[in-house]
């Protein structure tokens, strides 16, 4: 089955998931992001690459943070940005997802940045565009259900590469609600593709998906064991709904076993970096002392995130 993200020349034309993306494609995106980091430090934070192009933010699931970073990235590329908050579901409007997409294509959209509560929605849109001779319109997945958040995965990879230089000798621990996390899945695919020898997931059994080892990870239920000698610790956000779904008894008990505190962090390597996709729940998955400490690189992640998104949009818009 052809990779729906690559065109006939093997070039990236949609970014839907990191799974199945060849390592050179991923590395190319990270390399392209590097000069974009520099743009942020200039007086005029713009380059004319996407001038005249229209980027439509199609957010079927609310997220001011992610939408804003995509908007900033697109504007720094001199693109026109249109924000569409479709809310819960397009079907409440009576219009199907694909009908909405067709209408927007007719309005000369060049790039759709899509966030949806259902896994696979961006794939559906990309397949529809490919099948209807509209392959000049590109799709960037800004997060679909539990499945994938590829730009987050890429900025996480960029951050790790920035501080650690190489992947081939790293131990990375991903801690928390992996079951519901598209961030975790994307990062796992990216790390394994780039040759990270040890990728660990750490969490209670209720928050780890069935057969998670098949993704290429080692499973830990004891966090002290899980972060021991780690080079990178990635903390995932715990959402309140998990308590209601009989997955966890309380935030307090979760913090006791799986919260990142200074004493647990001390078990990792001395030069460990601490990452978090944000927004953080202080005192639930991460202690403030760690979040504000010198091992945390959470704010640089945000800066890198804009550069990575600029790189992604530049690459796909040119293919």
């Amino acid at each position: 089955m052809r990779n729906p993200q690559l065109n006939a020349n093997g070039e990236l034309t949609h970014l839907l998931t990191l799974e199945g993306l060849p390592a050179p494609v991923i590395t190319h995106i990270l390399d392209t992001a590097m000069p974009f980091v520099g743009i942020a430090e200039r007086e005029v934070k713009k380059v004319p690459l996407l001038r005249g192009k229209a980027v439509f933010n199609l957010f079927f699931e609310n997220s001011t943070r992610t939408r804003t970073t995509f908007e900033i990235a697109a504007k720094r590329l001199s693109a026109d940005v249109i924000n569409l908050n479709i809310g819960v579901s397009s079907t409440t409007k009576g219009e199907t997802l694909l009908d909405t997409v067709d209408n927007l294509v007719a309005m000369d959209a060049d790039i759709f940045v899509v966030r949806h509560a259902q896994s696979g929605a961006p794939h559906l849109i990309a397949a529809h565009l490919n099948a209807h001779d509209r392959s000049h319109v590109h799709v960037v997945n800004a997060g679909d259900g539990r499945h994938s958040h590829p730009t987050q995965g890429l900025l996480d990879l960029y951050t790790i590469r920035h501080y650690k230089k190489e992947f081939h000798n790293l131990t990375v621990a991903i801690v928390g609600d992996v079951l519901h996390s598209r961030v975790a899945r994307s990062l796992i695919h990216g790390l394994t593709t780039l040759g990270t020898p040890e990728v660990r997931v750490v969490g209670p059994k209720t928050l780890l998906p069935e057969k998670v080892e098949s993704l290429g990870v080692r499973v830990f239920h004891d966090m002290r064991e899980g972060v021991k000698d780690a080079d990178v610790v990635v903390m995932l956000r715990l959402q309140n709904e998990r308590m209601k779904g009989a997955l966890l008894p309380s935030a307090g008990e979760y913090f006791k076993h799986y919260g990142l505190t200074p004493d647990k962090l001390a078990l990792a390597k001395p030069d460990v970096i601490v990452m978090h996709p944000g927004p953080m729940n202080r005192g639930v998955e991460i202690d403030s002392a760690v979040a504000d400490g010198d091992r945390a690189v959470i704010l640089p992640q945000v800066t890198f995130g804009i550069a990575v998104r600029m790189a992604v949009m530049s690459i796909i818009a040119g293919n």
Partner: protein, 176 residues
């Protein structure tokens, strides 16, 4: 051009080091004492480094990557290998000598000038090139030029660096 057109003989390819010497000779009496040399990657960057050593004065050296300002993005996409531009001086009010290895259509220079203006408003920009091969498609001219050379349309003049030694080579031009 037909594929059987012969490549120029090795004796016809200019010696980069002597051309560089000629360029520096022309620049020495004319450039401002505090002019910044900004080289366009990669050839221009190497030359800017050499010129800064060869020409007396306080000459900060910067490098500029024009990948994001090219005019052929829609046709050819983003080329890989984009580097970070580094301008370790204040562009606002500066005298800048833009440095490139080969001046041809003039499009790279246009892109570099546009990019410089996104950093600030320079007082003046001059252009120094090792070789002017003609074939301009935009109204751009070099202020300082090492040598003028006619090169067939289907060929590319490429600068290479071997240690500190610069040399020219010729390749078939990549299809646009």
């Amino acid at each position: 051009m037909s594929p059987t057109t012969p490549m120029p003989l090795a004796s016809q390819i200019p010696d980069a080091e002597s051309v560089l010497a000629a360029l520096a000779e022309r620049m020495r009496p004319a450039v401002a004492f505090d002019a910044a040399f900004v080289g366009i990657y990669s050839g221009g960057a190497w030359i800017a480094d050499r010129l800064a050593k060869m020409i007396p004065g306080e000459h900060p050296v910067g490098y500029i990557d024009v990948s994001f300002y090219r005019d052929d993005f829609a046709r050819s996409g983003l080329k890989s290998g984009a580097k970070r531009s580094e301008l370790p001086f204040d562009v606002e009010g500066a005298t800048i000598i833009l440095v490139d290895d080969v001046l041809y259509t003039g499009r790279s220079v246009r892109a570099a000038v546009n990019e410089l203006f996104d950093y600030g408003r320079p007082a003046r920009i001059e252009l120094a090139v090792l070789v002017d091969r003609g074939g301009r498609e935009l109204p751009v001219e070099a202020t300082y030029c090492g040598a003028r050379l006619a090169v067939a349309r289907n060929l590319s003049l490429v600068l290479a660096r071997d240690g500190e030694h610069l040399k020219f080579g010729v390749e078939s031009a990549a299809e646009a």
